[in-house]
């Protein structure tokens, strides 16, 4: 089984080498927090115009990698290019072309949803009327129009993700990075977010999102990268990475080597009885 996994990685390397530059190119990326190595040498080319899923268990380094690609965290080592521009040497070109929805960071929550979009759009240098027009449409499509005057601090998790998505889309970026966009989101909001993202990629833009929910990635993405313990274990079109396994979940468990782990006798006291 492990052989099969590494073959898959090999296969994809020469697969889709077309003329267009990749949306994201990462070379030799490292990040260490004290003793802990969060990202241990990631090399990755993400093709443009695809719906890309970055999957991996908790603590695999997904958030750290995305933070470094989007310029929110300084890498210890490595080169990152987004649509041909170096993220750390040429931030002017990169920041105008990307949209970000990070996980675990706040928004300006004492603004209302409408005010937040108005503020973000103007900070991005868009003309005021254009910002208001786009904001109204985004709020409408994302089903937030009724809550536009409510403070973000009073929003639910799903509403926060949606307003964050709206803020990330406002300047019509070429590449959109979403860290766990469906975490804690109710099915209705999730469906709304899906609809907007599918429409966005259909017009040629790239979405890169991280998740640990395999079913979701399998149903949404056409290209995936599997990450575990700070490294990329496999990457390529969904069908190639899945290979002969029944589902992405199975293929993933084989790749990270977590299949058939048994608790054995270790938890024999567990049963909810006496202490």
């Amino acid at each position: 089984m492990p052989d099969q996994a590494s073959n898959r990685t090999m296969d994809t390397a020469g697969g889709a080498a077309g003329a267009a530059p990749p949306a994201v190119r990462v070379e030799g990326l490292w990040k260490r927090f004290g003793e802990q190595i969060a990202v241990a040498g990631v090399d990755l080319d993400l093709p443009a115009g695809k719906f890309i899923g970055l999957v991996g268990p908790n603590g695999a380094g997904k958030t750290t990698t995305l933070s470094m690609i989007t310029g929110l965290l300084r890498p210890d080592q490595g080169r990152i290019e987004v649509v041909g521009h170096d993220v750390w040497k040429d931030p002017v070109e990169v920041k105008a072309r990307i949209g970000v929805l990070p996980e675990g960071l706040r928004l300006f929550e004492r603004l209302s949803g409408g005010e937040l979009l108005s503020y973000t759009g103007r900070l991005r240098g868009l003309p005021g009327e254009e910002v208001d027009k786009r904001a109204a449409q985004l709020l409408d499509v994302l089903d937030l129009a009724g809550a536009r005057h409510k403070l973000v601090v009073d929003y639910s998790t799903g509403m926060r993700k949606k307003i964050g998505l709206a803020a990330a889309l406002l300047h019509n970026p070429q590449v959109l990075f979403l860290d766990e966009p469906f975490e804690g989101v109710d099915p209705v909001s999730a469906q709304t977010i899906r609809g907007v993202l599918e429409r966005y990629t259909a017009s040629g833009a790239t979405v890169v999102f991280s998740s640990h929910v395999m079913e979701l990635v399998e149903s949404l993405c056409d290209w995936v990268a599997v990450m575990a313990a700070g490294r990329i274990r496999a990457h390529g079109p969904l069908a190639e990475v899945r290979g002969s396994a029944r589902s992405l979940q199975d293929a993933f468990l084989q790749l990270v080597g977590a299949n058939g782990r048994d608790t054995g006798d270790a938890l024999d006291w567990l049963g909810g009885g006496a202490r």
Partner: protein, 537 residues
């Protein structure tokens, strides 16, 4: 090994003390700069404490030792009650609301938290002072016995007072109505400072320490100063009085612990005020307010608007502003009303408000990423910082003038108004300059989940050093202006003194511009580091 075979559980107190030590150590482990800041502030605190200790020992046997000691202990207790609420403090005592899901009884929990609160620089500092106070007063065997009881008692009352006030304020600060009330406690500090100030001035006027005796006669019955009063009483043979004073302190400790326990129980069982408020939160009005249209376009307008909205809507920012505005007004005016003031004290207002420029990005919390995403060049960073400074000036400029003019009116010192205003404006500019640089170089987190912490664990030293270093730097930046004022006054150049007003205004503007220019490239180059530093809370 299974759970049932683990033997008796460790005592709650030792668990909490170890947890507190781990939190302290982990907070320090995250960055070496922070460790250095922590050690520096610890050494400074201990040096001051040692100085005080020596001072107390020298006081021993002097006529007014008892009066001085009880008053100092009372001031110390006041500090314990209010300082942790409003200023960055090193107090990292566990947030009791985090323990809500654990099956703990309030009684043991309160005593365990109390003991854990004794770990830290602040309690050590206090212990030094109280021991010094006891050394200054204790004579004879009875005095020593009283001192042995009084020292721990006074220390415990101080710590319990801080915890009880903080716990009561959590409730206040988490409810929307309460927030407005809590904001008023800024007044309490302002008045407290004034009382001390007034006392010190009386001391200077009215023939030395004798003036303290009437106040001390009352304070020696107020806990925790009464514990030290008991040491004095026991030393002079008044055993009944001593016992009564010790009893008062002990009763106060019991009362504080009871009150603390009650607020904790309510905190952990009643719904959070913010939840109730959120459910009935009225919708905000339309976005295009009048202000919107008056502000400049580009990046400047939106940034100013957001800063000003945060002053009004964000409870942490609002508290800081109201406190600064109230103290900035009260200190010069009270001094003037007492007839002891000087118009130059009006500069205090610019100083208090200038502090709001410090840690700009910490005030954003981790939402700073939204700003970082739109800063791609030093130019962007400059516009961002300038817009924030402009929003600050929109409030502080008229306010500084108001306070200076009002102080001049009370003192009827119109002659000195131009120069005082000039210096105030120069100082405001210097505070903006140093504040911008400190925001870029020394950002720190302002925890949002805890109503009474203004700095994240382990970053307290950093915060203090950034603010005090900045204030000293601002004073130095203003020194040419001050020197010129002194020189013109000394030379009796009455006709030329008015020039200090335009000169101060221009000087302030130039210094502020220079500070923003220096801070902008540093901000642009340090975006990820700033984001990491402000995302701890």
């Amino acid at each position: 090994m299974t759970a049932t075979a683990a033997g008796p559980a460790p005592s709650l107190t030792s668990v909490f003390v170890r947890l507190k030590l781990s939190l302290l150590a982990n907070g320090l482990r995250q960055s070496s700069g922070r460790t250095a800041a922590f050690i520096t502030s610890a050494v400074l605190a201990l040096l001051v404490a040692a100085g005080q200790l020596i001072g107390f020992v020298l006081l021993r046997g002097t006529a007014h030792a008892a009066s001085l000691v009880v008053l100092l202990i009372a001031v110390l207790a006041l500090g314990w009650a209010f300082l942790p609420l409003f200023f960055p403090s090193g107090d990292e005592t566990l947030d009791p609301t985090r323990l809500v899901m654990l099956p703990l009884r309030p009684g043991p929990m309160v005593s365990a938290l109390l003991v854990a609160s004794l770990v830290g620089i602040g309690p050590l500092f206090t212990l030094c002072l109280v021991v010094g106070a006891a050394l200054a007063l204790a004579h004879g065997a009875a005095g020593v016995v009283a001192a042995v009881v009084a020292v721990p008692l006074a220390l415990l009352v101080c710590v319990a007072l801080a915890r009880a006030v903080a716990a009561a304020n959590i409730r206040l600060l988490t409810s929307r109505k309460g927030r407005d009330l809590a904001v008023l406690s800024g007044l309490v500090i302002a008045v407290g400072i004034q009382v001390v100030n007034f006392g010190v001035q009386r001391l200077g006027q009215a023939g030395g320490l004798t003036a303290l005796d009437p106040a001390a006669a009352v304070v020696r019955w107020i806990p925790p100063a009464s514990a030290l009063g008991a040491v004095d009483s026991a030393s002079t043979g008044a055993y009944g009085t001593a016992a009564a004073q010790l009893g008062l302190s002990a009763a106060a400790l019991a009362g504080l612990l009871y009150g603390w326990q009650r607020s904790l129980t309510r905190l952990m069982t009643a719904p959070d005020g913010s939840t109730l408020a959120a459910a009935s939160e009225p919708s905000r009005r339309g976005a295009s307010t009048g202000l919107h249209r008056l502000l400049p376009g580009g990046r400047t307008g939106p940034v100013m608007q957001r800063s000003l909205r945060y002053v009004w809507r964000d409870p942490k920012t609002k508290t800081a502003w109201v406190t600064a505005l109230v103290i900035g007004l009260i200190v010069p005016l009270f001094n003037a009303l007492q007839g002891t003031g000087s118009i130059y004290i009006a500069c205090f207002a610019s100083g208090m408000l200038g502090i709001q420029m410090y840690n700009q990005f910490g005030q954003d919390t981790s939402a700073f990423w939204m700003v970082a995403q739109t800063i791609a060049s030093p130019r962007d960073a400059y516009l961002e910082l300038r817009a924030r400074a402009l929003a600050l000036l929109l409030i502080t400029l008229p306010y500084t003038m108001l306070v200076t003019v009002a102080t001049a009116a009370v003192l009827r010192d119109w002659r000195a108004l131009p120069e005082a205003l000039g210096i105030a404006l120069g100082l405001l500019g210097a505070m903006i300059a140093t504040g911008a640089v400190a925001s870029a170089r020394f950002p720190y987190s302002i925890p949002q989940d805890s109503a009474y912490k203004n700095v994240a664990p382990g970053q307290g030293g950093l915060a203090w050093i950034s603010i005090f270093g900045g204030m000293i730097a601002s004073a130095l930046l203003c020194s040419p202006l001050i020197a010129l004022t002194i020189w013109l006054n000394a030379a009796n150049a009455e006709s030329a003194i008015w020039i200090l007003l335009p000169l101060g205004a221009v000087y302030g503007a130039v210094v502020a511009w220079g500070g923003l220019r220096v801070a902008a490239p540093q901000t642009a180059a340090r975006l990820p580091e700033i984001l990491t530093a402000v995302s701890k809370g």
